[in-house]
Symmetry: C2
Subunit: 364 residues, 2 copies
């Protein structure tokens, strides 16, 4: 078995791709939350200047990728490919939001796990030598998600205690293969101190590069939960499955990582996950967090179990965790985005909610 494959589910990258830049955009509730400062752009207008929420969601994808490219001092033509996804039917936030970049495009769908799914796939495509630079873009919008998955906002439905709020947010990442170190064309050759391809913001700043070292592919796990207002319980078994597979494949204890972070399990799902892992001897309680618990003040903002949506984990990773890895506050993070693979139709037809979780290991 080649060294690239570790155990049954995990791959180790021989030349770990680096995250050369990341950016995120958000909405009004995200501005009111504790992480308002992580966003590159925040709009108090839920329409982002467009005439529909779906078009707003596309505009967020455009803005997030433009910001990430700008931070990397790269023109769109430097992109070998884009991997993108969202929660709208037929993933139209991505296809409409990113059609203007003219880049080779891979549409992916992992519900709220899309951020980690796209990062894991991109790392494989870069480490495999097929592309030099890739962008990953993932976003969600509260208003379009409510009418897609639950009830139209105008209906004014009450939310149950286990409900989470879909984050209006979008995160974008620019990844570079280790091999392409010198090949990145600068946006403006006269600009001061462009980032090095091997991941630093700038050599002069003393900030380090951030690398994707491992990825663990998700398996669809269906624990029989059928309440679309209890996504945390539906996704927690998948998170448990992937995190325990990852730790077993690497043969490391939980404290191998400074932080093990899930995407949007929320308060209820996080409790289930830590309990399931503890049963197997993995005590992650002192180094675990969930992006859905970080992005809002749950009590003050009346967010019930926390944030959700694929823009939740994408924004927190892009705006908070990547910068903290870069400045040394974090050294090694296991980023585990979780997705609930249901649709409004499947829920109305009485189906349970299958979950999936992809894990990506990031090191400074």
């Amino acid at each position: 078995m080649p060294a690239k494959k570790i155990g049954k589910r995990t791959v180790r990258f021989e030349s770990p791709p680096s995250v050369i830049s990341s950016a995120c955009v958000g909405g009004k509730r995200e501005r009111e939350g504790p992480l308002s400062e992580i966003f590159d752009y925040l709009s108090d207008d839920a329409f982002f200047g467009e005439d529909s929420w779906e078009k707003a969601e596309s505009k967020m994808q455009t803005a997030a990728l433009e910001a990430a490219l700008s931070k990397a001092s790269l023109p769109p033509s430097a992109l070998g490919c884009i991997l993108a996804g969202d929660l709208l039917p037929q993933c139209t936030a991505s296809s409409f939001g990113l059609r203007g970049f003219g880049a080779p495009y891979w549409g992916v769908y992992g519900a709220c796990s899309t951020s980690a799914e796209s990062l894991a796939l991109a790392a494989m495509l870069l480490d495999g030598g097929f592309f030099d630079v890739a962008a990953c873009v993932t976003g969600s919008h509260f208003c379009s998600a409510e009418r897609q998955f639950r009830t139209p906002l105008e209906y004014g439905g009450q939310r149950t205690p286990t409900a989470q709020r879909t984050v209006t947010g979008c995160g974008a990442f620019i990844l570079s293969s280790a091999a392409s170190g010198k090949a990145l064309p600068p946006l403006n050759p006269h600009a001061p101190a462009p980032p090095t391809a091997r991941g630093g913001t700038s050599a002069a700043s003393g900030k380090a590069g951030v690398y994707i070292t491992h990825a663990t592919t998700g398996v669809i796990i269906d624990a029989g939960i059928s309440d679309p207002s209890n996504m945390g319980a539906a996704m927690a078994p998948a998170a448990y499955d992937t995190i325990s597979a990852h730790l077993r494949d690497l043969g490391v204890p939980a404290n191998h990582y400074d932080l093990i972070v899930t995407g949007d399990l929320g308060a209820h799902g996080a409790d289930i996950l830590t309990g399931l892992l503890l049963r197997d001897g993995f005590d992650i309680s002192d180094r675990y967090n969930d992006c859905g618990l970080m992005i809002y003040n749950r009590e003050e903002q009346d967010m019930h179990c926390g944030g959700s949506g694929c823009g939740c984990s994408a924004s927190v990773l892009a705006g908070k965790l990547i910068p903290e890895l870069r400045d040394g506050s974090l050294k090694r993070v296991l980023f585990c985005a979780t997705g609930a693979l249901l649709s409004a139709t499947s829920a109305l037809q009485g189906e349970s909610i299958p979950g999936i979780c992809y894990a990506v290991a990031l090191e400074r």
Copy 2:
């Protein structure tokens, strides 16, 4: 630039992955068409024994993958990963249809280009050394697609002359990395003449292996078409873009291939494509076909411009083209599945229809 990358858009596989088996399932209209014999299973019941069309679509995915695994004499546990997608919102035909296989799973979305998108990605993951065996599954269902993209069947809407009919069909492919030649566990060790991992049906039969040698990634092309009943015109510019990029990247004329085949442009889109390519000096008319023109008797079956849907190209490739490559009737095929990246919502909001096309080169 590594030898893996050819030109701007195309990759060449250093160790071309092989298609070790393929299978497809279809419905009543597919049985009535000229390709009825290519299907491994045909159901006259649009529900496939389930109580909704969406569940029927999931069942087709299950059945197609089971048939492909059976032909390869492989158990589900041999799958390193599955790449799958469909046209339903949130790609639920795939997530529900494939949740029982217990395999690492990548959800992809390329509308009707999903068959080629998933094959191209799978070939990269195998050639990159990340997995030994991968399955690609893509399907669509006429009844669920009509109510998703156009009007509910009960409405009895009239179809326009440029309309195509969504194929009720699903294709599944099992791919093996060249390196994994001896690692495939047989389903039944006592079974006669199992397929070799390097692509033959059986050494004794004299049939050859089928390999994926190149892949060209799609770019989103929006020509401004906004009529959801004229998908051919919306997708043809993307097919033109990818096919011309592929031929330019390889530096070969169109007759490098025995067959250049698009997914579901239909009669109108096929005319546009051949005209656009001819303008550039690529005359493909004597070696071009479209899966949407092959699967039905357009006149007798009243199919207007032909078949469409992501099950169209997946079924024709799995049931007709792969076997013809294996038996030598075809030697080198450029398979170009085309997708229209719209949704019912985007169409109602007045958006145009972006198209995309992925190309995969298959050789005997």
